[in-house]
Symmetry: D2
Subunit: 402 residues, 4 copies
């Protein structure tokens, strides 16, 4: 028992919505002496990463790698393309969308924030309508989170692109994929995104400390006329130096060692397999929650997130107290709650290098913790998830056998 | 699906009956440069290990540390105390008892092997009866496995000690604790064991490659008159050198770095907590198996093992095929089968640094694999384990609250 | 020989002017699973780092920790305290001072760049004279590099503080300590510095990817009226969240694990011992170079750097070709050259976790490479360094003995 | 200074005669979770090691891998091939030869020990003469150390083979290569050795804990009639199980992970390059010692060891005191002294993954420590080594250029 022991036994079950569990292979790649960031070995490593990361964003254009967290890459997307006072259209999908909007304000932009129920993602029709109203094309950019980390709602990026096109609007399209990249299907070029913001610590299975801007030609053109002041985040010097395999400043070499392996691992599994696995784990999680008789934040299946599921606590039960009990008894960590749902939910992360076995362990800990915390619920959640996992395994096994 | 991917995602779930999963803290302690095995830093490390390991065996006498596997420590126990042709009484609890017996033959001893159903442990009454018959005290040693790794049957060492005493027999008492040490209650001194054989790779949470002989004064006395030839395994030079904190040959320094941390971890959790945790995981596992309608090898609850449970496959279902399917689909490894049960069972390890969350993951993988393999079984095993885990957590929580 | 082998044997000798060699103890601390950056264990770690880093800067005020490279902390120092168009006084000590100046221009400030011979540091008298001229106090900040990484010249920060005071000028005093922090004596509070910029990858012995702003009350006050746009770099939200042991965004947890150990290591050795060691290694290096008959960039001993020494190549010998030859034959890396000295020098780093033994190895490789490259020089450099190291060891040994 | 600091800075310079410094690449390979030692991944790993190790011994016959130190492999060589009371001819080259001889006595064999000056290796002529006298072929085995670790004398194995052949003697030929394997040219098959004993912790660059027996057909034949009792060391079961890629007991899986990489590294460099490098480092070391005016144990150049050089301390100076001073001041470890030379020498290891740069560092620390300890010597040792290293590099560079 935890109460009379200085040590909680067993491996920590990390089910926060990122950073995701670090695979040993990546940790080992990072556990290496420093190399000269201006030497030949480094240039080789950098080139592998700079080329490889394009295959993850599915772009043939440059991807800028920042030694900074995802928040930094948010800032980079705005300051490289816009000018002071520019109007940007953003959608209030949740806490992180709100933070991006607040950042835009701090940076001297004029965000218009489309009020949205936190329990769904961005609605293409609403965006289309608003853009159509903007006859003068005052809106310079549309900013959407692919996956709202705070709620577990996934927005339909390809459809939003079509909505912008239908509105005939020239605004730049910027998408945050921090909690979806390398977990959910994403196609920077094909979907016509101008700036995609990504981070290292979720689907890429790396620690936090690195983030990305994938850029379209249109975004690059916009960067030539952008009037926002910038230096650290400026794309131009980065892109120039990157061509030689170097960076304008000392980059996080350990992270690049890890990134090189992460990209290998994703392609060894196959990106489509990676996406299918995340969808399978997410559906299993949702079935477990439904079987418990509990509700999830995302109220419309078309917005279901493959990486995060936020569980609503029944009235009178505090999400944070529940998380603390689960941590102490079952060595499991969930994501916390924000804004209107503060204390009223907890978030289960099912992203990165996890599989059905670990997921059943995590859902099992949740079901046991619900019982210990006397949260009203029905048994059978883990059973429902197992039944689902078996059904998907068996059918694909059949397909393979045919 | 594994079939079109070069990588099985997620962390490997190691549920073999040892080696047990290596905690990161131990791996990190071992991931360190070599130090001079004749220098001051080494002497400090060696002393910590030599003293600390005594607290695990619960002895105040020396514990000899071999840079060799457990098999080596078996040999050491015999060659240090006996003489060619000596009669030793052994009990056929399973595959590993058989191997120890075969070793005794190879070494020129005369083992008498008490035929025992592999589905139970050693019976004190049988031993007592046999020793009583040995009026001339021709039997020089009684050798028993505390935990038979091949079957998951735990033998009652304290009771066997009493049986030997009741028989008034002077034979040395030798016990193999390879798959029970630091997982099940064990008391070398209090239980009057003369030589305890142990290994690094199970309850001690270390890699394989180190093994032990804990010795009584009686065993040390016997070693003075032993006529077996020996050099590498000889206790005398080891004990002499160990007093200075050194070894007669270059020991496995990395293993000692890990061992130092392993001993700390066991005491931080508290040995009694460690034993209680293993018992809890074992009972949860047995309840899952029972709920599935399957049977386990150990047919008498008094021999239930806290570290290993061997599951009998229904007729017509091969244990090894099942293990392969589970490995491929759920990245889980179980122990294989031996002797009369070859192909007819698989063994679930629940030992070392694991907790309820990991155990539910492992049992979940098992239940899903049973379904995929179409092994006849009822659902509800994982549920039964969860119910049991919750009940033990809750009651202890109540106790703590009172 | 390298020419017929796919592997250069032996450990890489990293003598670039940072990142410095990672001690194993730090690498091991970083080689650890991810923990929840909003959980209790993280809060404890963050507090240890946030408190500990103050002892390195020698300040009782907050130190802001950025998940970004040192370049980012440069930007942070400017955007938090100044307003568009503000005049800042900077000193052209070398390449990195030039980059900071260029950054100021990019950010919309008006830097005045005091032309300085790259072969010395910043001259307090020149700064004093310039500030005295500024009767209207148009200069809002004075920005100086403590150690110019490009040249190995150390500027006298305490004296510059006095010069500012003598001029009676209210400008903020900002100091870059990226390549001096935790290697050379530095006292943020005592020396009256307003913003100190630091990085992880030099004296702190961490990988690149983390940087710092130590701030005075005056700087904090300035930040309330600063008109520069900022979000990621803004101090206010950071300071507020840090009080609870958290960060406004996901920080680089692995770096914090390493930083916690780095701070311990520096205090175990003792900061004064750390500084004395760097001075000793630097003087040994300079004596070796002098014995070779070569010259160093820093032409005035009062500016000698304890962390980096830049060696001037004789005419007709290219620094980069020399570096490549040394790397291929002796597995050693030096720093490259910049600006007016491009190709005309190479820089030897002697900072971080190194000692006399490694330094002699590094200088030995240099002397051997000079011979192989047929660079005109005299033998005896390594001997001169050894003689010096012995003399300092012996005298301190005597002192200790008395 | 060490005297007022709790930490000796800088990386430890490990110059003991083994274990040799662990390359990071090997440490990382070993820093990995446990895998099932009866599973498919293990079988692949084991096969790679079992095949690869043959290329290091240069044999096409099986090499038995023991999870035990080199001492264990000594024992294995004797107990698998001989019978109680058998006469074996051994040569007193030093401490380790003496220990092997003592082991033979303990195991019930009758070693005849050819008295030899510890300052040379085994003399083929002496062996030939003795074997010729043995008309009845009572001598069953000739046992020689390729490299005597205690003195740094290398014996000419190929010549000894010829001497045995000239004597027309059928004795088995057993050679200990613990401190020469993968550092000095060695050819098990070509040189007609019957049992070669090897260890992991020297030229193989692994930690201690694994050892080897390479065996000839003649040795295998002898093992069929050997009457020594054995179990753990028995070849037969090992060879049988190894054919399937498994071991009769749980082997040290982490060591096998490391071994797989070590074999790769040796072949990437090229074995001949590895041998040349060791010879070069050894000659540089000897030149340094000679320049200091000191003497080495090995008094005849034809026995010079490529891996270890033992330095004789001038009268009145204690080797162990010197080692302690060097450790405290320069963080360097040397090998200790034995037998007739106890306290009168120290041994410099120059084996495994080291290069000229590290060697100059180590020799520099030695020269500085000699000065601090006031051991009478001339300066110039490091210079002599550097001159030699440059000369070998330059000539080979020329050769490559032609």
């Amino acid at each position: 028992m935890a109460q009379n022991s200085a040590r909680i036994p067993g491996r920590h079950a990390l089910h926060i919505p990122g950073p995701s569990p670090l695979p040993d292979r990546i940790l080992r790649a990072m556990d290496t002496p420093i190399i000269d960031h201006r030497g030949p070995e480094f240039a080789k490593l950098a080139r592998k990463c700079l080329d490889g990361i394009k295959t993850i964003f599915k772009t043939t254009n440059p991807v800028i790698i920042y030694t900074a967290t995802g928040t930094g890459a948010w800032e980079a997307s705005l300051v490289n393309t816009l000018s002071p006072g520019d109007k940007v259209l953003m959608v209030e999908t949740g806490q992180f969308a709100t933070q991006w909007k607040n950042m835009a304000i701090k940076l001297g932009l004029s965000p218009e924030f489309i009020k949205t129920d936190w329990r769904i993602g961005a609605d293409p029709a609403v965006l289309e309508a608003r853009l159509k109203e903007d006859k003068k094309h005052e809106i310079k950019a549309v900013c959407v989170l692919h996956n709202e980390t705070a709620t577990g709602c996934l927005s339909p990026i390809a459809e939003i692109r079509k909505a912008i096109d239908r509105a005939g609007h020239p605004a730049l399209f910027m998408v945050d994929t921090i909690s979806s990249l390398a977990s959910a299907d994403y196609r920077h070029d094909e979907w016509g995104v101008d700036v995609t913001v990504g981070g290292s610590q979720k689907g890429l299975m790396l620690p936090p400390g690195m983030s990305f801007n994938a850029v379209s030609d249109k975004a690059l053109a916009a960067s030539k006329t952008s009037k926002m002041t910038k230096s650290f985040w400026a794309w131009d010097e980065m892109i120039t130096m990157n061509k030689q395999g170097f960076f304008p400043y000392t980059p996080a070499t350990q992270m690049l060692h890890g990134m090189s392996v992460a990209i290998d691992m994703l392609h060894e599994e196959g990106l489509d397999n990676v996406f299918a696995r995340h969808n399978r784990l997410a559906e299993g999680t949702r079935r477990a929650i439904k079987a418990w008789g509990l509700d999830i934040i995302c109220r419309d299946p078309k917005y279901h997130s493959p990486t995060i599921t936020a569980v609503i606590m029944p009235d009178g039960h505090d999400g944070d107290a529940f998380r603390a009990l689960a941590l102490e008894n079952f060595n499991i960590a969930y994501g916390s709650s924000f804004g209107p749902f503060a204390g009223k939910m907890f978030r289960i992360g099912h992203l990165g290098d996890i599989n059905e076995t670990a997921m059943i362990g995590g859902l099992g800990a949740t079901e046991m913790a619900l019982a210990m915390a006397r949260v009203p619920h029905k048994k059978g959640g883990v059973q429902a998830a197992m039944d689902y996992f078996v059904s998907t395994r068996s059918s694909s096994a059949q397909v393979a056998a045919e």
